[in-house]
């Protein structure tokens, strides 16, 4: 359970960082970064489905 919680923490950090990156890409109007950041966010979502969501009911 502790390791799952640590994973969840990392996933939250990944989301935060990817969202920041997306925001910066929007401000700088950098399509290459924007699109890659969105792909990272989609992968982060899969991690949330696999770890963060189940953790909510296991806690």
């Amino acid at each position: 359970m502790d390791r799952l919680k640590a994973m969840d923490e990392n996933i939250k950090n990944l989301r935060r960082e990817a969202e920041k990156l997306l925001q910066l890409a929007d401000q700088e109007d950098l399509e290459a970064v924007r699109r890659n950041a969105k792909r990272i966010l989609a992968s982060v979502r899969m991690l949330e489905l696999e770890v963060s969501d189940p953790l909510e009911v296991l806690d």
């Binding site: 899969m46 696999e50 189940p54 296991l58």
Partner: protein, 440 residues
């Protein structure tokens, strides 16, 4: 080797799974209500708001949707998906459509996240069936507008397999490519799995068993859950053949695991599957009772699929699979379709019952059933082709076949033997049941 793709979900207790499903159901319902005009109107007309769903039982208050409703929504803006869409069209990156077997095709738009999700769902399927990074997987299907095995392709890549796309090659070239590369697995419809075996033997002089295929995954037709068809495929290729169930509008929701429990596990981490009585709509919780599947994709956002009335007939198994997964099993997989069941001579008939009998006869290669009307009387005819290497007594086989069909379906079949190669062959969804009564 690890047994599960994600043991956190796959071995979670039933009680926790229900809690998770309920949380996710409320989330996707809220999302659809806020972002999809189709769902918002549907719920408003029913006097329902997402906040009204307070318990698991309340889920049944949520109106169902079916294919006809999806088609109707599709006629509205934005083109071509209609007002069911819950994201701006610029978020859609993948187009697929249904085959249109039962009417106009339904267009399916997926965001990149949804496409990742499709792939993730398929990872559960492939991993449970023993696919590992050491596999070299061949995909002998036409890569086109149908979802078919597209997401399976990406899932195989994701879990680390080496993926060989067999797109525009013909059947002979595909078999030779599998042989050349020593592929260890492939995915196809049951019809095509059997067709490939015939082509290998008859046109290339290759015994499919010698190709070294270790596992085959089927989708698109129920054959891999029909014991006689499954056995035939397994004997032809000398390896286990696994079933998978999914649909364009829903996702990859069910899979047979490597233990072959006589049915399909429902991926209950990602889907909520309800079974209801086809006549009364009452929920069916008990094992063994056949009902209609109503399913929700709990994490699909671009074009949400909430309480979709799939018309598939299924039943819960009364056993747990020894693989240790807590995802419940549907005994016998998808047993048929509620709208496929037709009355012939006043008897209810499911086309899969015919296949179940015919596949018990290894002497028979291809077949189709035709229902016609002579005056006021229905007539049901089974047309078949014998295998070219069958030199036994045809009449004896036909007599046994007629008897078995009678026992299984309560119908007397007229049987016609057709010359070799005259019945249609199929690569994707086979159409072996033809009801010609209305056209006459």
């Amino acid at each position: 080797m690890r047994e599960y793709w994600n043991p956190v979900l796959e071995t979670m207790s039933g009680e926790r799974l229900r809690q998770l499903q309920f949380k996710k159901f409320k989330r996707v319902l809220q999302w659809a209500y806020e972002h999809s005009p189709f769902y918002r109107n549907l719920y408003r007309e029913a006097g329902l708001e997402p906040g009204d769903i307070k318990s698991f039982d309340d889920i049944r208050k949520v109106p169902k949707v079916d294919k006809a409703m999806l088609r109707e929504s599709q006629l509205k803006e934005p083109f071509p998906y209609g007002d069911i869409l819950a994201v701006p069209t610029e978020e859609i990156v993948v187009f697929r459509q249904t085959s249109g077997t039962t009417g106009l095709p339904v267009y399916q738009g997926d965001t990149w996240q949804d496409w990742e999700w499709w792939t993730e769902c398929w990872c559960y399927v492939l991993w449970a069936q023993g696919y590992r990074p050491t596999d070299r997987v061949f995909f002998p299907f036409g890569y086109n507008v149908f979802v078919a095995f597209w997401a399976a392709h990406y899932a195989a890549e994701k879990i680390g397999c080496e993926v060989v796309p067999g797109g525009v090659l013909d059947t002979e070239a595909r078999i030779l490519k599998m042989k050349e590369l020593k592929c260890t697995a492939f995915l196809a419809t049951p019809t095509y799995v059997l067709g490939m075996a015939t082509t290998a033997r008859e046109k290339l002089g290759i015994d499919p068993k010698e190709l070294g295929i270790k596992r085959i995954t089927c989708a698109g037709e129920p054959g891999a859950s029909i014991p006689s068809t499954k056995q035939r495929m397994q004997e032809a290729w000398g390896c286990p053949v696994y079933d998978h169930a999914g649909a364009t509008e829903i996702g990859a929701w069910g899979f047979e695991c490597a233990r072959q429990p006589g049915g399909l596990h429902v991926n209950e981490g990602f889907f909520l599957l309800e079974i209801e009585d086809p006549e009364t709509g009452e929920p069916i919780e008990e094992p063994g009772r056949v009902g209609k599947m109503v399913i929700t994709a709990l994490d699909r956002i671009g074009k949400p699929c909430i309480r979709f009335d799939s018309k598939d007939l299924v039943k819960w198994a009364d056993y747990n699979c020894e693989c240790g997964r807590t995802f419940r099993v549907l005994e016998g997989g998808v047993l048929g379709r509620a709208d496929d069941i037709t009355k012939v001579k006043g008897v209810l008939l499911s086309p899969s019952a015919i296949e179940e009998v015919v596949r018990l006869f290894p002497q028979i290669d291809e077949f189709e059933t035709v229902v016609t009307k002579r005056g006021d009387v229905d007539e049901i005819t089974l047309r078949l082709e014998f295998k070219p290497d069958f030199s036994g007594d045809q009449n004896q086989v036909l007599e046994r076949l007629r008897r078995e069909l009678r026992v299984k379906t309560n119908l007397n079949f007229k049987i016609e033997v057709c010359p070799r190669g005259t019945l249609p062959r199929y690569e994707v969804k086979a159409r072996r049941f033809k009801d010609l009564r209305e056209k006459e």
